[in-house]
């Protein structure tokens, strides 16, 4: 009566199928879907139909067709939409008022206010920020991304990423990485920080920008793809991509006039293993933005944290944020620090995971797993587990340790709900006090709450809630 004979998937008690030949039974390791909420599970299932499948196919094709090029470095005020209007500063993550912001973000905004010359001292800057005289807005609302506090000011130089394929005209921006130690993105704003920012504005930005223009656009997909084959994962390890970038640009930097600038620029690039992170982020932002607004698609387009809340955006719901309070990252701390020192998870850098890099590409980077206490086997397993919740392997990001299978790319909200597998994000851990800096690193999972909210909203839009 059953075509093909009885071949049973067993969800639940093995007793039920004890009379069935064992070769014809596959016992499922079943867990409650919808994070243990039957209503969420039901909505997820209801939405999982031909309409969603077709929309997701279209959305992921757009993302995978994106080929971002870094065409140069420009002052933010010249290129980032809206940043030059009045006094505007951008920050990481979903929207948040100054009063609720975490220490590092407040510190970074104070630093940026001083850097712009809008205040003469930190107290005055704080008063100005508290007064509301400065517009604060997420980077993501201005086609931009920034790591950690992610604070972007009009005078800062930004990488310009442009779409090279048919969908031209789209752009994305990211700040330039300051390196480790006392830096603005961890909330430090003393003279050392401001001096470096000024140097980046006056020397690094123009010098590297000119080199890029001379060398020709940097293809971020190709850069990251090469780096994945050299042990990077595109988020927490950027040694290979930074080295490749530096190698590419060094002759063009050297061809410039002033020896002092050449030396200081190359020295900075040599000492900053994370310089190319911001390029990876700008590329990922541009690629993910290709899917924003694809009707009925449950593809996740943004994951970002502001140090208080985790924010999620989904293609079908466009620019709407789903947020939930975020805890500190769990992970390993540098000697002398512990979880009580940690700031809640912070930064736009999870845009890399949204595309399929970082935690999703762990297989490429055994060095990362080793640092967080795992093994190369764990790295492979981490990447494999993300296949459960993604739409397709990224065709341009093959992972050598997985026989060159593409990195799992494009998180499907519905798959997260069905499997309960939460996106894995590699992250640095910031000290909760402004300016102390990085105190550890680890792996965090996106919180389940945002996915439950998102599925409810998508179901409302589809009229199936």
């Amino acid at each position: 009566m059953i075509d093909g004979g009885l071949r049973i998937l067993n969800a639940g008690l093995p007793l039920i199928v004890e009379a069935v030949p064992p070769a014809d039974v596959l016992q499922l390791d079943w867990r409650p879907p919808g994070f243990g909420d039957p209503e969420t599970a039901r909505l997820g299932l209801t939405l999982d139909d031909e309409v969603t499948v077709a929309a997701n196919k279209a959305a992921i094709e757009r993302v995978h067709a994106s080929r971002p090029l870094i065409t140069g470095i420009r002052p933010a005020r010249e290129v980032v939409p809206g940043i030059a209007e009045g006094r505007t500063l951008l920050h990481a993550g979903p929207p948040i008022e100054f009063a609720r912001m975490c220490g590092p973000m407040r510190g970074a905004l104070i630093g940026a206010t001083l850097f712009e010359g809008w205040a003469d001292d930190p107290d005055a800057a704080l008063a100005l920020l508290e007064s509301g005289a400065i517009t604060l807005d997420p980077c993501h609302h201005h086609d931009a991304v920034g790591p950690m506090a992610g604070v972007l000011a009009p005078s800062m130089p930004v990488f310009v990423a442009e779409e090279s394929t048919g969908d031209s005209g789209r752009r994305a921006y990211s700040s330039l990485n300051e390196g480790l130690g006392k830096v603005l993105r961890f909330g430090a704003y003393d003279s050392e920080v401001l001096t470096r920012l000024a140097w980046m504005r006056d020397v690094l930005g123009p010098t590297v920008g000119a080199a890029i223009e001379a060398a020709g656009p940097i293809d971020t997909t190709s850069l990251i793809s090469q780096a994945l084959a050299m042990g990077d994962e595109g988020h927490n390890r950027n040694l290979a991509s930074t080295s490749l970038l530096t190698r590419r640009l060094a002759p063009f930097i050297a061809a410039q006039a002033e020896a002092a600038q050449i030396a200081s620029t190359l020295e900075f690039l040599a000492g900053n293993d994370h310089f190319a992170l911001n390029i990876s982020m700008a590329g990922a932002k541009l690629a993910m933005d290709a899917a924003v607004g694809v009707e009925n698609s449950t593809l996740v387009t943004t994951m970002a944290r502001n140090g208080v809340e985790f924010g999620l955006r989904v293609a079908a719901t466009g620019t709407e944020w789903f947020t939930t309070p975020v805890g500190p990252a769990d992970g390993l701390f540098f000697p002398g620090y512990g979880p009580e020192d940690a700031n809640p998870d912070l930064g736009d850098s999870a845009i890399t995971e949204t595309l399929g890099l970082g935690g999703f590409a762990m297989a490429a980077s055994p060095a990362i797993t080793r640092f967080v206490g795992g093994t190369p086997d764990d790295a492979l397993e981490a990447t494999r587990s993300m296949r459960r919740i993604t739409l397709a392997p990224h065709p341009a990001f093959p992972l050598p340790p997985l026989n060159f299978a593409g990195t799992p790319s494009g998180i499907d909200l519905l798959a997260v709900i069905e499997t309960g597998e939460l996106p894995m994000i590699n992250t640095g851990i910031a000290h909760k006090e402004a300016g102390v800096g990085q105190i550890g690193a680890g792996i965090v999972r996106a919180p389940s709450g945002v996915f439950a909210q998102a599925v409810r909203r998508v179901a409302e839009l589809r009229g199936v809630a």
Binding site: L180, G331, P335, G336, F371, G373, D378
Partner: protein
């Protein structure tokens, strides 16, 4: 965002003691970490995701000059003949080089050949020769010969590519004067005839031969001191 490149963080429980550049956690936490690492729960990916260590206190792991008791030294020396051979590899061969290495270090003589024979040599995942060298470095410092120890340490560093990653980690720290808790436990045995037996018992429990190899080095280094106190 991992700081200065690759770092090995050695996590231990009080049964092993603190090691330089590592952290020691309470036994229940350690058990949990070890279980998680062994299990590598696929559902959660990272082996130690979710770990929240309690308050972290930094510890000073330097070995400094102490009063060395001659009777204790004799007791400890006798214990260094304990066997620890693994198959064809007998650590007594590396232990036998300890005295010569300590003397050469004190006299500023050439230690290159001796170190080449010792680093990475012998049984164990921290080869016996490495334990001997680490012991000599600790013994010299306990004897107050910190300059000789630093000098010897500087000779050790370039040879670290010749041994295992675990050993490299310990020896790198030892070269700059920092030693694992268990080394401190052995050094403490030098203080008096009464403290020696505990150190000897402890040495016997470190790996198959590591403890005894360390002890051989410590004794050799400590013997060099100009001022050994005669037991009363």
């Amino acid at each position: 965002m991992l700081g200065a490149g690759r770092r090995q963080l050695v996590i231990t429980s009080d049964a092993f003691g603190l090691v330089p550049g590592g952290m020691q956690v309470r036994p229940p936490e350690f058990a949990r970490l070890r279980r998680d690492l062994a299990r590598r729960d696929p559902a959660r990916g990272a082996a130690i995701h979710g770990w929240r260590p309690a308050v972290v206190e930094p510890a000073d792991l330097r070995v400094t000059a102490i009063d060395i008791d001659s009777a204790a030294l004799d007791l400890l020396e006798r214990a260094t003949t304990a066997p620890g051979a693994i198959g064809a590899f007998d650590p007594s061969r590396q232990r036998a080089e300890a005295s010569a290495l300590a003397r050469a270090a004190r006299d500023g003589a050439d230690v290159a050949d001796t170190l080449l024979r010792l680093i990475g040599a012998g049984p164990g995942s921290t080869p016996a020769g490495d334990d001997v060298v680490a012991g000599v470095l600790a013994g010299l410092r306990a004897a107050g010969l910190s300059e000789a120890a630093a000098e010897l340490g500087a000779r050790v560093l370039p040879l670290l590519g010749r041994t295992t990653a675990a050993s490299t980690h310990y020896l790198e720290a030892a070269a700059t004067g920092r030693f694992a808790d268990r080394v401190h436990a052995l050094v403490a045995g030098l203080r008096s005839a009464r403290s020696a037996p505990a150190a000897i018992r402890a040495a016997a429990t470190f790996g198959a031969s590591s403890g005894t190899d360390l002890l051989a080095g410590i004794v050799a280094g400590a013997r060099i001191t100009p001022a050994i106190r005669k037991s009363a």
